[in-house]
Amino acid sequence: MRLLTDTREGLSIALTAVKANPLRSGLTMLGIIIGIFTVTLMGAFLNGMDHLFRQTASNMKTDVYYVDKWDWGGGDWRLMRNRPDVQEAYLTQLRSKMTTASAFSMSVAKWGQEVKFKNRSVEFVTASGVDEGYLTTESMEIQYGRFFTASELSSARPVCVIGYEIASKLFPNTTPLGEIVRIGGYPLEVIGVAKRVGGLFAVFTVDNNVIMPYYTLQTAFGQKHQTVTIGVKAKSVEHKLDTKDELEFFMRQIRRLKPNEPLNFGINNQDQFNKQIDGITGLLATVGFLITGLSLLVGGIGIMNIMYVSVKERTREIGIRKAIGATRRSLVFQFLYEATILSLLAGAIALLLAYPVTVLANNLILADSDLHIDFPIFYAALGLGLSVATGVIFGIAPALKASRLDPIDALRYE
């Protein structure tokens, strides 16, 4: 009973105090508003990233190893530049020696090309010259049309399969099949459209690719400094590391490397991207929580400061309340309620601001992207919890001070 009446009185005093000083209360709340706003938006973004990450990971071919001049995970660029090129001939050798591989492919990529159809064009696409094994190692699916044939490959026919993104941009209303597109000025007939992959790295996938026979690409772009990428798909996903070891063994043999010599080629796997995504989301979360923590700390100190001011201003009121029978506990409650209401109000304002931002971001900025963010209920609840905690933690010292005032001195205070 006592607790209930204390609560009611505490709430009504707190609301009166907040209403009496709206500007001061608003400024005090700013830090917490920023903190909760940040944690909510960051939560929305992390949720979206996580979702996208899972979608991307499911697209990744973790059982395919790529022999490349470069290590995809990074490393000393100047050292890797001096490595010998990966030769087309390796493919035949690996194919005849390896026993744990189910498929092989060969590809060459030309980054940052422009593809044109009539007056439309798409920039920064990748032109890939591949062999027939590419369809299997990349688990590529054809949405419309067909892939090129072995004879089209060997005779370097000017045909191509285009990615979904390119198809939708160059041919928004018509079918691309049978049309002639130009890449680097070289005309190619579209014979197929690849199925959409999507995900975080859509720009690096088939979606943004013009795929043509390997020898067609040689004709179109020339053969100088040609290093290829060889894809090797493991027979069994469980034993894919055996495939990797076997691949490394035969590549060392081909390159005539002694056992103690370092590799002069890269054996890559798309798993490496997963680690990088983890790193990115981890960094985002760290930065977000840091900003949140700092804002809450600043906001909390603001609340503590304003509560000390409030206690000072109301010294006489505290004296009156004590004289007519308020216990220490009642006064602690009263001032804790005031601090908590301030911080909770700040939390609620932050959520009211964050909600339209998530909606707008979704509909405007992220409309064309695979990243999709929702208002994060969990982080919103977390935010409200954090704001209450901030109010209580930073309100307790001023509240205790109020409750310990000597009633005689407080009554005499002018």
Partner: protein
């Protein structure tokens, strides 16, 4: 006044000392005060400033505790009670009336009167009913929703009296209740105290004005921390 004992008095102070330790010096505000007040008495405590009168009032009002001596409130020794127990006595047994009224400026008259009942944990309906009745008894039921700054000095003091009475306390402790009022309004308030006394209330009036003190039926004069004289005036 030898008929006062701890048993038959509402309040009974026995050999009360109050010493302030000022670091290198000890100040004796009260040095052995023994005084009792029986039910339905109307007593004035008088003395010049520095006499220990205010210290005595704070002790009677349970805002302070004595350095030594016993203080019986309705037979219970309150000298050794802790903060919360003193708060409960202030809440239930003592009605304060101050020189400066001491109303909460942001609350209306009704809420000011209701406040002691909130701290007593009384339910809302009963609280409002009793607060309204108390306002009615001081003739201000039509001012219930007025804030203190919308009331005259006399009206404010009446609200304060209603707040003091609302818990039906054992004593009404008034500290210079007319000090901030003009003489006519002061007379009104003193007449009102007389009525309250007639209705059976126990009133302790603290003042330095001879004229005001003479409204009481007994005057206890304090000087240099001791009772100088204790006499019935009517």
């Amino acid at each position: 006044m030898d008929q006062h004992t701890a048993a038959n008095s509402v309040i009974y102070l026995e050999d009360i000392f109050r010493v302030y330790d000022m670091g290198f010096e000890r100040v004796y505000a009260l040095r052995g005060v023994t005084v009792g007040v029986a039910r339905n008495e109307y007593v004035a405590i008088m003395g010049p400033s520095g006499s220990g009168k205010s210290t005595l009032m704070n002790l009677i009002g349970c805002l302070d505790t004595p350095s030594s001596g016993n203080y019986f409130f309705n037979g219970t020794n309150v000298a050794g009670l802790d903060d919360n127990e003193l708060a409960e006595i202030r809440n239930k047994e003592i009605g304060f009336v101050f020189q400066t009224f001491n109303l909460l400026p942001r609350s209306d008259a009704l809420h000011n009167v209701e406040l002691p009942l909130i701290y007593a944990g009384v339910k809302k309906e009963e609280r409002l009913e009793r607060a309204y009745a108390a306002l009615e008894s001081v003739g201000l039921s039509d001012r219930a929703t007025h804030k203190p700054n919308e009331l005259s000095g006399g009206q404010r003091q009446r609200v304060a009296i209603a707040r003091a009475l609302v818990t039906r306390p054992s004593i009404l402790l008034a500290d210079e209740p007319t000090g901030n009022l003009d003489s006519k309004t002061g007379e009104d308030i003193m007449r009102f105290f007389e009525e309250l006394h007639d209705k059976g209330n126990t009133i302790i009036l603290v003042t330095h004005e001879e004229e005001i003190a003479h409204h009481a039926h007994r005057i206890v004069r304090i000087r240099d921390g001791v009772v100088e004289r204790d006499e019935k005036t009517r």
